[in-house]
Amino acid sequence: MSTEKQQEQVNPPVDETEEIELNVKSSEMDEEFVEDLDSLLDEIDEILEEDSQEFVENYIQRGGQ
């Protein structure tokens, strides 16, 4: 069984513009993500439901399928 075999892009994807990037280095991806995430975390401070404790306690569903 093959392990850690890095994939090469073989065929053009269905829609090239929306293809996920292959072989992006982990560190690059993370750095970019964390940097940008800071402003998003500010936003989350604003939009997270107030009074989380009460909210999650009161979120009760009936079981479904």
């Binding site: 996920i20 992006v24 993370d30 998003l40 989350i44 939009i47 439901e49 569903q61 079981g63």
Partner: protein
């Protein structure tokens, strides 16, 4: 194939929570919201009648003057959509079913269209409430208190495949695919072992290997076999073990790789070779192993990681799918399947813009770090829940998407289009197009039937659609473009 999604629902600042009333309000609001659109389907009821059908060559059967059971009230909580899907209240949840789709990309598209349909109806319904009240809808699977609601996948399979072969071949795949399809969950439920964070929302709720029930004592493999099609030719595989996904890649791969594995089972190339010693225990332990590296025991005593099991299925697909079966979408699914397995092997966090459980984990970790919250903090649970909020201004997944932190496969325009138009290459085309074109001539509809009102408005014609691959644009497009409802029924009847 198609998916069914039950959404969680809550009314903020309501004196008392009544999820059935709230769900009904939301589903009915969608009819109101469409106002004067050409889709006056609000009086069309769902046809619950199950008949043993006969077909003509195209899969239609016209029956004159079929007696109709009175079902006026069922339109209250049932909506048949012009995109060919179904929208209704199931138990205490709004549920959206996609139309039948022929490939994984379409299915992703129509599931995403469902999220917009829910949001449009949520906004419309909210106008009917008091000013301080908000309707909140989550596309998730749990209230974190032991109540789960489902996200089900349905695949059409050949009746020739024995059910035992499906159980043997599919169970190890479903148990291990959660490393790709999990939505992530803070904590544990249903008496399962405590954990800070786990990969799957649903894993804790599965208690046996095979069974018919979906509400309690849930089985990994569900035996409901109601094909909504000719049951001599087809069986329906009802997969209930999946999570509701927000990530486009998670949805796409979930349905894409599962349909490929079912093809392999139909071909007879997957047997008992990957059988697990204890699948129910395995899904819970895999769900708690965020490294994806811990081994599980196979029935023959070998120890494999879930990545190894997935790779073994992938390899069989690469070996056994014919050139014809490797359509562009299938080819793309295989490529992305390998891509995520390669990256999971190196470090799952490399997929923090791709797969739900990892996107969510990354977000929660960053937020915990900023505020010093423990995993058990209510804010952390709130983050988990709000990740699944369908509101564009509040939903955390949607905020991540809009800010470019997660990968997209679709564009917004095509999702909006899919709210209003059916896929062109399944019988959903016939259903959706008839509803759009002849809303006042249709009395009721179901997955495999449409009942037209006669000219006198008192007689009925039932059109059976027992071949899901028929009723496509290619087969009936011209017919539908060029005739009235009465002419359509007449023409279909003459083909008997």
């Amino acid at each position: 194939m198609g998916t069914e999604t039950e959404y969680g629902i809550s009314v903020k600042n309501a004196r008392e929570q009544d999820p059935v009333a709230a769900s009904t309000l939301v589903v009915n609001a969608y009819k109101t919201s469409r106002g004067d659109t050409p889709s006056a389907t609000s009086s069309v009821t769902w046809d619950y009648e199950q008949e043993s059908p006969l077909m003509d060559a195209r899969g239609f059967l016209a029956e004159a003057d079929t007696p109709i059971s009175e079902a006026d009230t069922n339109s209250v909580v049932n909506d048949i959509l012009i995109n060919g899907g179904r929208y209704y209240v199931d138990h205490a949840h709004p549920e959206y079913c996609t139309p039948e789709c022929a490939n994984a990309r379409d299915l992703l598209l129509y599931e995403k269209a469902g999220e917009l349909i829910l949001e449009v109806s949520r906004v419309t319904a909210e106008r009917l409430l008091l000013d301080n009240q908000e309707i909140i809808i989550y596309k998730n699977n749990t209230d974190y208190k032991g109540h789960s609601y489902g996200s089900h996948e349905n695949y059409l399979m050949s009746r020739k495949v024995p059910f035992d072969a499906i159980v043997d071949g599919l169970t190890p795949f479903l148990v291990t695919r959660i490393i790709i399809t999990g939505s992530g969950k803070v904590g544990a439920e249903n008496g399962s072992r405590e954990t800070d964070y786990q990969i799957s929302q649903r894993a804790d709720f599965f208690e046996k290997e095979v069974g018919l029930s979906t509400m309690v004592n849930r089985p990994l493999i569900n035996t409901r076999d109601e094909p909504h099609a000719d049951d001599k030719i087809y069986r329906r595989l009802h997969v209930i073990v999946g999570d509701s996904n927000m990530s486009e890649l998670s949805i796409y791969l979930k349905v894409g790789i599962t349909s490929i594995v079912l093809q392999l089972i139909e071909k007879g190339v997957v047997g008992k070779q990957f059988g697990l010693k204890d699948p129910v225990a395995a899904i819970k332990s895999i769900s708690r192993d965020l490294s994806c590296k811990n081994q599980i025991e196979l029935a023959d005593g070998e120890q494999w990681t879930p990545i190894q099991v997935q790779r073994a299925y992938l390899k069989l697909a690469q070996q056994h799918l014919t050139t014809e079966e490797r359509t562009p979408v299938v080819e793309d699914v295989l490529e992305k399947w390998q891509y995520v397995l390669d990256n999971l092997e190196i470090d799952p966090m490399r997929l923090s813009q791709h797969l739900d459980w990892i996107i969510k984990k990354k977000l929660i970790e960053a937020y915990r770090k900023r505020h010093g919250y423990q995993w058990t903090d209510a804010h952390v649970q709130m983050l988990d829940l709000q990740y699944h909020d369908i509101r564009p201004d509040k939903g955390l997944y949607i905020r991540l998407l809009k800010n470019g932190h997660v990968k997209r496969l679709l564009n917004h325009e095509e999702i909006v289009h899919a709210m209003h138009y059916p896929p062109v290459d399944t019988r959903a085309y016939f259903r959706g197009t008839c509803l759009r074109k002849f809303p006042n001539h249709i009395y009721s509809a179901s997955w495999n039937s449409m009942i037209f009102l006669g000219k006198d408005r008192r007689s009925f014609d039932k059109i059976m659609m027992d071949r899901p691959h028929f009723g496509t644009q290619q087969i009936v497009g011209e017919l539908l473009n060029n005739c009235t409802a009465d002419e359509l029924v007449k023409k279909l009847r003459s083909k008997r």
